[in-house]
Each structure stands twice: as C-alpha cells, then as structure tokens.
Amino acid sequence: MPTSSFNKNEQRYFYSLVAAGLLVVLTGLFAAHLMEEHGHIITGMNNQIVWGIPHVFAIFMIVAASGVLNVASIGSVFGKPIYKARAPLSSLLSIALLAGGLTVLMLDLGRPDRVIVAATNYNPTSVFAWNVLLYSGLFGLVSVYLWTMMEQRMNPWSKPVGLAVFAWRIILTTCTGLIFAFLVARQAYGSALLPPMFIVISFAWGLAVFHVVQSAIYAWNGKTHAPDIVKRMKNLLGIFVMAALYFVAAYHLTNLYFAHQSGFERFILIDGGLYPRLFWWGYGLLGNLLPLVLIFHPGLGKTRNVVAASLLVILGGFALLYVFVIGGQAYPLSIFPGYAASSSFGDGQIAQYSPSLPEILLGFGGLGMAFLITTVSVRALNFMPHDKPYIAD
C-alpha cells in the first residue's frame, strides 16, 4: 500500500500542531497572570488609551466569529447546497473564534477574578451587559445548530435553528457595533453607521478566516477544491471586501463633511503618524487592493491566491481595528469645543500608546485558543465539507 510520508507521520504532525497551539495559549495565560499580578501598569494601556491591543484581537475574533457563520446561513437560510455542506465547519469556527475573543476580553479585565459579577449584577441599559447575554446565547445556539446538523434524527430542526442563528448573530454584531456607536462624546465613535459597518465587515473577515481554515483542511487531507466552488466562494469574498470598504469609506466621508470632525479625520488619514500609515498601507493596500487583485485578476483567483487574499484581508482587518480602536482614543477628546486645552491629564494632546509584550501575548493566546479548538475538533469530529456532485442552481 503506497502511503506518502505525510500520511505515515500524520499523527505526529497533528500532535505537534496541538502542542504548538497549547504553547501559545499557555504563554497567553501566563501573560494574563502577569497582568493580574502587577496590574495594567505592565501593559502599554493608560488612562488615555484605555483599550489596547487585547481589544483589537478580541474584537477581531468576535466580529469574525459572527461573520464566519455567514457560510452556514447561506446554506440553511438561503438553501445553497455548497454552503450547506460547509455549515458544520462554519459553526465550529464561530464557536472557536468566540471562545478565543471572549477569553482575551475577559482576561484583560482589571478584575478577571470577579467576572461572575457580570452575571449576578446586570445593568439593563448597558450594551456590554446585553452582549454578555448575546455572546453566551450564540455559544448555546450554535452548539444546538451543530447538533441538529450532525445528529441525523435532529436534521429536520436544522433549518429553523439555522434561521435563529442567523437572526441572533445579526443582532450580536449590531450590538458589537453599538458598543462604539453609543459613545456619544468621542469623535471617532458615536455614529449610527457603525453597527451596519460592523455587520458587513464581519462578513468579509469571517469568510476570509473560513477560506484559510478550509484550505488548510483540504490540503491536510490531500484533497483539492472543485474549481466551481473556489470560484463562487472567492467571488463572494471579493464582494464582501468591497462592501466593507464602502462602509468604511462612507464613515470617513461623513466625518469629513462635518467641520467639527475634520481635525479627527486629518489625524487618522493624514498626519497621525502610525495611524494613517496603517490605514492606507495596512487596510487600504494590503487589506483591500491586493486581495481584490488576487481574487478578480483574470490570471489569478486559484486556491492559492484566494488563501493569500484571505490572509491579507485578515491582516487588513487588524490594521483597521488598530486605527479604529486605538487611533480613535489617541485623538484628544473635545471637552471645550472652540478652545485649545492643555493639562496634566493629556487634554488637547495626542495620547501615546506602545503595546507591551504581555498584552500582545494575551492577544495571540486568544488566537491560539481558537486554533486549538478548531484543530482538535476537526480531527475528532467530521467537519470536512462533503460536496454532492455539483449542480448549478
């Protein structure tokens, strides 16, 4: 029986992947332990930049966790068979990303030991508190959804549960956007455009993550994608990326039109140092232009190009979030409009932030956790997409 050396060593490769994932997770946990022991003084965060790198990682994962479910929704809600075959993998990725993101968010708290207070004391006016319910609800709902898909006797329920998941995650991403949209006094936030922007962005990021994982699974099992499927899914990614870009552009254009916002836009887009560079090069070029070329250029668009495009979309996502979350806080809050202000507390000054190692490790720990959950589950259970012979619909 001819077996390649990969097949012979497959088990060993798997365990080394798990070990690598575990190492990243443990390093992240250790970093979180240091942060709890010494306080946030060992991070780059301060009283001006109160949310830093951990939040960039956490928001990316939570937004992508919702967006990756799009694949399942297109299958169950809109009844497309090639997406239906991918619904279990999409649900698994959602759970993994959500677990990773929430872990980072939780471990970054000033008092992570008290996280139970968030369940016992509930403030109904807080969008954070709504999210506590929405996130845990998504865990439960997606788990039930997986069950209805993987247990044959439950199959008839998979469509209604799929619908519920669809509605739930749209609400969830709306509320993720609302976290910022409700910040009335901050120039960077407080816009009703943010919830829809987050939803569309989640489609792009989620599908990009899905492409990367799916291709890895196919390669691991020595399978190749049917060209039709690659074409359909890459086109969808391209459309999502463009739609997300549209919303980001609309957000900045409306800001540019308001005279009182022009200072902030100038900072983010032109003279803010790192932030405009990240925005134009990171988000604009790497996160949009290159992926779109890789997807739509007639000579490209092969699986390899699509994976590269997806990785770039993910990278661009991180760049955009860094600019949005940290750049948005770095620009001074306008407490006295019309006055130039100065104080010992950073009034009227651009706030400085340089992320420290522990908080970066914590962020990667979350990614590692998502990776670990995915790797182990994909091997233990049958998440491989099984395509029926393709029929154009």
Binding site: N46, N47, Q48, A118, N121, S126, S344, F345
Partner: protein, 243 residues
C-alpha cells in the same frame, strides 16, 4: 448649608477634644465625626459652582488637596505624573481659539444627572446616589473601562498598580475604575469636599442645588453659569461661571 455648618462645628469640637488623645501613639480613642445611619435622599442634589474668574492660572491647591485627601500619589512616587496615574481633579488651561482669551479651571467628574458612565456599566458598579453623587462601587467593578470610554469629560482613572496604605475613609484598589467622589466621605459627615475647602480664592462653591435658599442655588439663579458640553444634555452637577 446651615445644617452642614452646624455639623461641621460639632465635628470640629469633637475632633479638637480628641486630637490631644490621638497624638499619643497606639491610642484607640481617635474617632471621627459620625455619619448618619439613614439613607441619603433625592431631596438633596449636591453640586458645585466654579467661578473661573477666581481660579488662578498656575494654582494647583485644589488638586493637591484632593490628592492628599484621597491618597492619590499625584506623581510623587515617579517624579512626575505618568499617564497611568489617577487624577480625580486636574487643572485645564484654556485658550479661546478665536479671541485668544485664556482661562484656567479645575475639571473633575461632573456628577451628571444622566451619567453616560452609569448607562454603559455592565454590572451597575457605576451608579448615581440619590443625592446626585456619581460613584463607582468597587466591589462590583470588573475593570472593563467602558465607563472611561463613555465619559465626555475624561473624569475617570483606572488603577494600574497594586496600592498600599490607602486612606481608611477612601478605599481604592488595583484593577478598578475610580473618579472624583465629591469627597462623599466628608459630605456624609457634614464637611465640604477637600478641593472646595482648599481653594484660596473660594472659586469652588459647594452646596445643595435643590435647596432654593442655599448659597449655590441663589448664585445660579442670579449669575450666568454654564455646564460643560451642555449640548449632550447630561445636566451636570458641576457648573462653571465665566466660561
């Protein structure tokens, strides 16, 4: 106000009598004036009127008094304020960008009637007391810092390091958010906030906004005062005169 003054006098009498005893080391008789055992009511709304005309550029006495009263380091440990140090009150120097007029004023928690920090707090740790003082219940605060994002006045600080030797009247601790309490521990025993007491020019007038006969209410009726970011409609308890 008169009620406060009576209590204050009583407090001064008690503490003067006990001061001698308290000096001896290890003495146990030291006692502060007593707070009331009954709940505060919304018949009172504590507030301040800050007269920027009396606030001197470069004077920092209110900040120093606040740091001392509440046990804030105020940059003493690090030889200068770091961006991670708590600042409950700060002096802001302002310059009108059109006319060039300059002024100086203290900025702290504005004790809003509709505080955004209270709206966004997931656990209800941020809350408004019946008498209008906005506080953080540090037993409930999980340190998510959402309130710091939501505050239009940047009034809140996060405790970035473990603390030791806190004022027994002002518990503070690592990993929780804090801000100006309007010296609630002093108000509850009938004293004024430390900043108001420390101001050499009496630029900070403290009192009950709901009592029409109080000095602050009379002043607000008779002179022009503004709320910072009044456009947000938060109805702040701190008002400014001459802004």
């Amino acid at each position: 106000m008169s009620d406060i003054n009576v209590q204050r006098r009583q407090f001064l009498k008690t503490s003067a009598g006990l001061a001698a005893v308290a000096i001896a080391p290890g003495m146990l008789l030291f006692e502060v004036a007593h707070g009331k055992p009954e709940a505060v009511s919304n018949k009172v709304r504590w507030g301040m009127l800050i007269n920027t005309a009396n606030c001197v550029d470069g004077c920092n006495d209110c900040v120093t008094a606040c740091n001392k009263e509440n046990g804030l380091a105020g940059g003493l440990n690090s030889g200068g304020l770091s961006p991670t140090d708590s600042q409950w009150i700060r002096k802001i120097e302002l310059k009108d960008m059109r006319g060039g007029r300059t002024l100086s004023l203290p900025m702290m928690c504005q004790h809003c009637e509709h505080p955004p920090c209270v709206d966004v707090c997931p656990t209800g740790a941020s809350f408004k007391r019946a008498d209008g003082i906005v506080l953080v219940d540090k037993h409930r605060c999980i340190g998510c810092r959402y309130c710091m994002m939501a505050c239009p006045y940047k009034a809140r600080s996060f405790v970035h390091e473990p603390l030791h030797d806190q004022n027994p009247d002002v518990p503070r601790g690592k990993g929780t958010v804090e801000s100006c309490t309007m010296c609630v521990h002093r108000i509850d025993r009938g004293q004024q906030p430390a900043c108001a007491e420390a101001c050499p020019n009496k630029a900070i007038l403290f009192g009950n906004l709901n009592d029409p006969d109080s000095e602050i209410a009379i002043k607000i009726r008779t002179v022009a005062s503004t709320q910072v970011r009044a456009d947000l409609g938060l109805n702040t308890g701190i008002r400014y005169q001459g802004l």
